[in-house]
């Protein structure tokens, strides 16, 4: 009985997302530009970005190095989870307006 319990809790703790120690990092999109365009995170730790899209149209947060593709509708927000990153620079862009919507995550 107890073993089942422990196994269950262990399974759940693996499946359920870990609590993020720090508050989510706010990333605002306005006029197809990210602000802040540079986001610093601690290397080796997961992080959570809350992207707030203040434009009228949807945007896709796209980064092949961060392995994230996330559509955020206009006047809406979305959570972007970053895996624990090795130190380095990870560029991201708004795929639908890549001329102006550019940014970078720096893990250090």
């Amino acid at each position: 009985m107890h073993f089942k319990h422990i196994a269950f809790v262990a399974a759940v703790s693996v499946l359920v997302s870990p609590a993020f120690a720090d508050a989510p990092i706010a990333l605002t999109l306005k006029d197809h530009k990210f602000s802040p365009a540079t986001i610093r995170v601690k290397a080796g730790q997961p992080a959570l970005i809350k992207m707030i899209n203040n434009d009228d149209t949807a945007e896709e947060f796209d980064s092949s190095s961060l392995k994230v593709e996330k559509v955020v509708a206009g006047h809406s927000s979305g959570n972007i989870r970053l895996r624990p990153l090795p130190p380095g620079k990870y560029p991201f862009m708004g795929e639908y307006h890549s001329a102006t919507a550019q940014g970078v995550v720096i893990a250090e």
Binding site: D56, A58, E60, S64, K67, V71, N79, R81, S98
Partner: protein
């Protein structure tokens, strides 16, 4: 116009490659054009719906709705691809033999067409919803003229369709008796890549947070995306065989696990000792 051309082209290539493989894998099966067209049409309708409800889908499951939705439809496609390969393992030879005998399309193989139509639908839906959102955004904002947008979209579509045709005719140049072996292998890798991609979506949704460190990093050699020819090659390999420049441990397990499961199922459903063809199969 250029930006709409590039985006549409990029998304259509990905769906187009999958359509090309499906068409080659169903060569000689009657009514396949209808089923593939049905899959594409359903995918386009689905893409518009997904684009329309992007905000609502995203807000489900505490903001992880989009990731879980993507993971679900990818896993659905993995199941359908597995079903196709397992079915072909026991019926592929019959189809090839019958095709040779009558020299025309055969009716056997209809059942696997439904499964592959779902795969086509999923591919078109995933890539199509991005195109719809992007084109809608440009149109709403009025940055580009409607003519430029339409022209860019159509050119992108034509380019993607050309890639699809290239894939299809490339595969058809393989001798008939080897064709289904090759398409079977391609479909196995396609399924494995989709399973690995689904794992990533599940992890991005905040679940399955284990073995998340990259196992290798080949982004300096062949990046999985980005601009330029190298980026396009990386992207195509990502779609076709699930290439990743930084796969994590859990993704690798899903990739290899899918290959093993499909091969074991194919072996189990197709014992090497076969009953002579004269005995009719009561299941048909």
């Amino acid at each position: 116009m250029l930006s709409s051309l590039i985006i549409v082209f990029r998304e259509v290539i990905e769906a187009g490659l999958i359509v090309g493989i499906v068409l080659a894998a169903t060569k000689g099966v009657l009514h396949r054009a209808f089923w593939v067209a049905l899959g594409v049409a359903a995918g386009v309708v689905g893409a518009c719906l997904v684009a329309l409800f992007a905000g609502e889908i995203s807000n489900l499951f505490e903001g992880s709705g989009q990731e879980l939705f993507n993971a679900s439809i990818l896993l659905l496609a993995v199941m359908m691809l597995t079903w196709h390969n397992v079915w072909m393992a026991s019926h592929g030879r019959e189809i090839a033999r019958e095709m040779k005998a009558v020299g025309a399309a055969v009716t056997a193989g209809q059942s696997t067409l439904t499964a592959l139509a779902v795969v086509v639908g999923v591919a078109v839906l995933r890539e199509g919803s991005e195109v719809v959102l992007f084109l809608y955004g440009i149109a709403a904002q009025g940055g580009e003229t409607t003519t430029g947008l339409l022209l860019g979209g159509l050119l992108g579509l034509a380019g993607g369709a050309a890639m699809s045709a290239l894939m299809y005719f490339g595969l058809l140049s393989i001798p008939a008796h080897r064709l289904f072996t090759v398409t079977g292998g391609l479909i196995t890798l396609l399924a494995a890549g989709m399973a690995a991609q689904a794992v990533l979506f599940i992890q991005n949704a905040g679940y399955l947070q284990i073995l998340m460190m990259p196992v290798w990093d080949t982004s300096w050699l062949l990046p999985e995306g980005g601009e330029g020819v190298v980026g396009i090659i990386g992207r195509m390999l990502h779609t076709l065989i699930g290439y990743s420049d930084q796969p994590n441990g859990m993704q690798l397990i899903a990739y290899i696990g899918t290959i093993i499961v499909i091969n074991v199922l194919m072996r189990v459903m197709n014992p090497p000792k076969r009953v002579p063809a004269a005995v009719p199969n009561p299941a048909e």
